[in-house]
C-alpha cells in the first residue's frame, strides 16, 4: 500500500504538467453534450412525450447516463496510452521495477491515480449537471461513487490488457470496436428496451449498461435495493477480475 502510494505520487507529479488541458476537456465535453443533446435534441424528444423515459425530460434522462459514459472514457484514456507509454516508450516502469517497488505496486499506484481522476471528472460533471438543472434529488450525489466504480470496471481490465500489448495500434481497435459501440448502445442516449430483443442481452452484459442504469436510478430517485445491489455487484466483480488480471500481466511484462 505504501509502495503503491509512492507510485501515485509519481503520477501526481506528472499530472501537474498536463492538468490544464485535461480540466479543459473534462468541463467542455459535458457542456457540449448536455447542451447539444440534452437541451437541443431534447426539445424534440420532449415534444413527443417522454413516457418511455419515465416521464422526465430528455436532459434529466440523459445526464446521469452520460456521466457514466464519461467515466468510461476517462478510464479508457488513463489506462491505455499512459500505461503503455510507461513500459514501451519512456520505460519509466522498468526504472521503477528496479527499485523496491513490485509490479503490483506500480499497477495499484496507477489505479489510485485513475480513481482520483475519475472522482475529479465526475465531480465536475455533477456540478455541470446541476447547473443545467438536471439534478433532481439529493441522491444524485451518489452518482459520484457510482460513476467512479463504473470507470474502474473499465480501467482495471483495460490496464491489464494494455500491459500485454506490443503495439499501440491495439488501442485504436479497442476504441473503434469497444468504446464507441458501448457509448452509443448501452442505454446512455435511449433506453435499451428500444434495441431489438436479440441484441438486448448483449447490452446487459456490458459494464457500461450497469453503470448507466445505476447512475440513472440514483439520479432520478428510482433506485431499488435489489437492482442497485446487482449493478454494484456486477461492477465490483468486473473490477476485481481486472485487478487480478493486471497483477499477472504487470508481473509478466516487467519480470521477463
Amino acid at each position: 500500500m505504501r509502495a503503491a502510494i509512492r507510485q501515485l505520487r509519481f503520477w501526481m507529479t506528472n499530472y501537474r504538467r498536463t492538468w490544464r488541458g485535461s480540466i479543459y476537456s473534462s468541463v467542455l465535453n459535458p457542456v457540449l453534450y448536455l447542451g447539444a443533446m440534452g437541451v437541443g435534441l431534447g426539445s424534440l424528444v420532449n415534444a413527443h412525450g417522454t413516457a418511455s423515459l419515465g416521464g422526465v425530460s430528455y436532459l434529466t434522462f440523459l445526464a446521469p447516463g452520460l456521466m457514466a459514459a464519461a467515466a468510461m472514457q476517462t478510464a479508457m484514456g488513463e489506462s491505455t496510452y499512459p500505461v503503455f507509454g510507461s513500459v514501451k516508450w519512456l520505460k519509466t516502469y522498468q526504472a521503477a521495477a528496479a527499485t523496491p517497488l513490485r509490479p503490483a505496486d506500480l499497477f495499484h499506484g496507477h489505479l489510485m491515480f485513475t480513481t482520483l481522476r475519475l472522482a475529479m471528472n465526475s465531480a465536475v460533471f455533477l456540478a455541470i449537471m446541476a447547473a443545467f438543472g438536471a439534478a433532481r434529488s439529493p441522491w444524485v450525489l451518489a452518482c459520484l461513487p457510482a460513476a467512479v466504480l463504473t470507470g474502474l470496471a473499465f480501467a482495471t481490465p483495460i490496464e491489464a490488457y494494455a500491459m500485454t500489448c506490443k503495439k499501440d495500434s491495439s488501442f485504436a481497435l479497442l476504441f473503434r470496436f469497444g468504446v464507441i459501440p458501448l457509448f452509443l448502445f448501452s442505454g446512455t442516449f435511449f433506453p435499451i428496451t428500444s434495441l431489438p430483443a436479440v441484441v438486448r442481452p448483449l447490452a446487459y452484459l456490458t459494464p457500461l449498461w450497469h453503470g448507466v442504469a445505476l447512475c440513472r436510478s440514483l439520479s432520478l430517485g428510482t433506485a431499488q435495493p435489489g437492482q442497485t445491489a446487482l449493478h454494484v455487484g456486477y461492477l465490483l466483480a468486473v473490477t476485481a477480475a481486472g485487478i487480478y488480471a493486471g497483477n499477472l500481466t504487470y508481473r509478466r511484462r516487467l519480470y521477463a
Binding site: A95, A98, R102
Partner: protein, 321 residues
C-alpha cells in the same frame, strides 16, 4: 579473526555479496545464459566482457531481481532473488543498458521520484541530489527537463539516480555504449572515482578498453557461457603473449602471406580479414624475422596484448563487430 559464541574461533569469510552457480536463463527454448558460476566480493569492480547477445544483460537483470532465473543458484547478500527481491533491490543501484529516465520531468524531479521509490525522506533526497548532481557535473541543469540533454549527460544522470539510495552494489549495464569518445571518458572518470571510494561495481561491456581500465576482475562471456575468468592482467598473461605484431599487406594477400611466415618466432598467428596478428614475446624481433624473409608489409605495428586478443584466442572472433 573473531570470537564466535561458544568460544570457537572462526576465520571471517571474505565478504561475498553475490554468488551464482550454474545460473541459467531461458526464453522459450532459447538459452540466453547457459549455466554460469561467479562470485562478487565487496569492494571490487567486477566485469562481464562479451559481444552483443552474450547474455550480459540477461545476467544483470537476474542479479537486479527483475528476471527470475530459469535454473541454477543465485544468492545476493545471502538472500534469494525471487523470494526477497524487494529487500535485495533496496540495496542495489541499477544503471540499465537503455536509458529509462523520465524525459518529461526535470533532472531534479527524476531524482526525487526515484528516491521516493526507495522510501527516502524528502530532506535526505534533497541533500543527496545536490551532492550527486555535483558529482556527475549536472548541477547547472538541475531544473531543466531531461529530454534535451545529451546522451552523455543522460548517462551521468542515470548514474546519479542509481546512487540516490546509497546502494551497496552498483550494477552498470554497458555504461558507455552509444556515447562519443569524449563523453565516454567523462563517464569512466566518474566510475573510477566511485571505485576509489570503495563502491562495489558490477559492469558489463563489449569494450575491452573499458574492461581493462575499470575492472579488478572480469569474466569473458560468449554465447551465454563464461569462457575465462581473472584480472585483466592475468587473462592477458594466460591467454596471450606479451606483445603482438600486426602486419598489413595488400588487399587479399593476407592468407598467402601467412603461409610464408613459417618459422618466424611467434607462439600463434591469427589471420584476420584486414591484417595478420603474430603473438610473440618480442615484437621487434619477430618483425626483423619477417623482413629477413624478404616480406615487406604495407604497415606494421608492435603493441602490447589486450583483452581483445584474449577474446580472439578464446572464441576465434572479435569483440566489436
Amino acid at each position: 579473526m573473531s570470537e564466535a559464541p561458544g568460544n570457537v574461533t572462526v576465520v571471517a569469510a571474505p565478504d561475498i555479496l553475490i554468488r551464482a552457480k550454474g545460473l541459467t536463463k531461458t526464453f522459450g527454448d532459447f538459452t540466453a545464459v547457459a549455466g554460469i558460476d561467479f562470485e562478487l566480493t565487496r569492494g571490487e569492480v567486477f566485469g562481464f566482457l562479451g559481444p552483443n547477445g552474450a547474455g550480459k544483460s540477461s545476467t544483470m537483470r537476474m542479479i537486479g531481481c527483475v528476471s527470475p532465473p530459469s535454473g541454477g543458484e543465485l544468492s545476493i547478500f545471502g538472500l534469494d532473488p525471487v523470494r526477497d527481491g524487494q529487500a535485495i533491490r533496496a540495496r542495489l543501484g541499477v544503471v540499465p543498458q537503455e536509458d529509462t529516465l523520465d524525459v518529461e520531468l526535470t533532472v531534479r524531479e527524476n531524482l526525487l521520484i526515484y528516491g521516493r521509490y526507495f522510501g527516502l525522506r524528502r530532506d535526505v533526497i534533497r541533500e543527496r541530489t545536490a551532492r550527486l548532481l555535483e558529482f556527475v557535473q549536472l548541477t547547472e541543469r538541475a531544473d531543466d527537463e531531461v529530454e534535451p540533454l545529451s546522451g552523455g549527460m543522460k548517462r551521468r544522470l542515470t548514474i546519479a539516480r542509481s546512487l540516490i539510495s546509497d546502494p551497496e552494489v552498483l550494477l552498470l549495464d554497458e555504461p558507455t555504449t552509444g556515447l562519443d569518445p569524449q563523453a565516454r571518458h567523462v563517464v569512466w572518470d566518474r566510475l573510477y572515482r566511485l571505485k576509489q571510494q570503495g563502491v562495489t561495481l558490477v559492469l558489463t561491456t563489449h569494450y575491452m578498453d573499458e574492461a581493462e581500465q575499470l575492472c579488478d576482475r572480469l569474466v569473458v562471456m560468449d554465447g551465454g557461457k563464461i569462457a575465462a575468468e581473472g584480472s585483466p592482467r592475468e587473462l592477458i598473461d594466460r591467454y596471450s603473449t606479451a606483445e603482438v605484431l600486426e602486419l598489413r599487406f595488400g588487399l587479399d594477400e593476407h592468407e598467402k602471406m601467412a603461409g610464408k611466415l613459417e618459422g618466424v618466432p611467434a607462439e600463434r598467428i591469427e589471420v584476420l580479414a584486414d591484417r595478420i596478428l603474430l603473438y610473440t614475446a618480442d615484437g621487434d624481433a619477430a618483425l626483423g624475422a619477417v623482413r629477413a624473409r624478404g616480406l615487406e608489409p604495407v604497415t606494421s605495428l608492435v603493441r602490447r596484448s589486450t583483452l581483445e586478443d584474449v577474446f580472439l584466442r578464446l572464441t576465434g572472433r572479435r569483440l566489436e563487430d
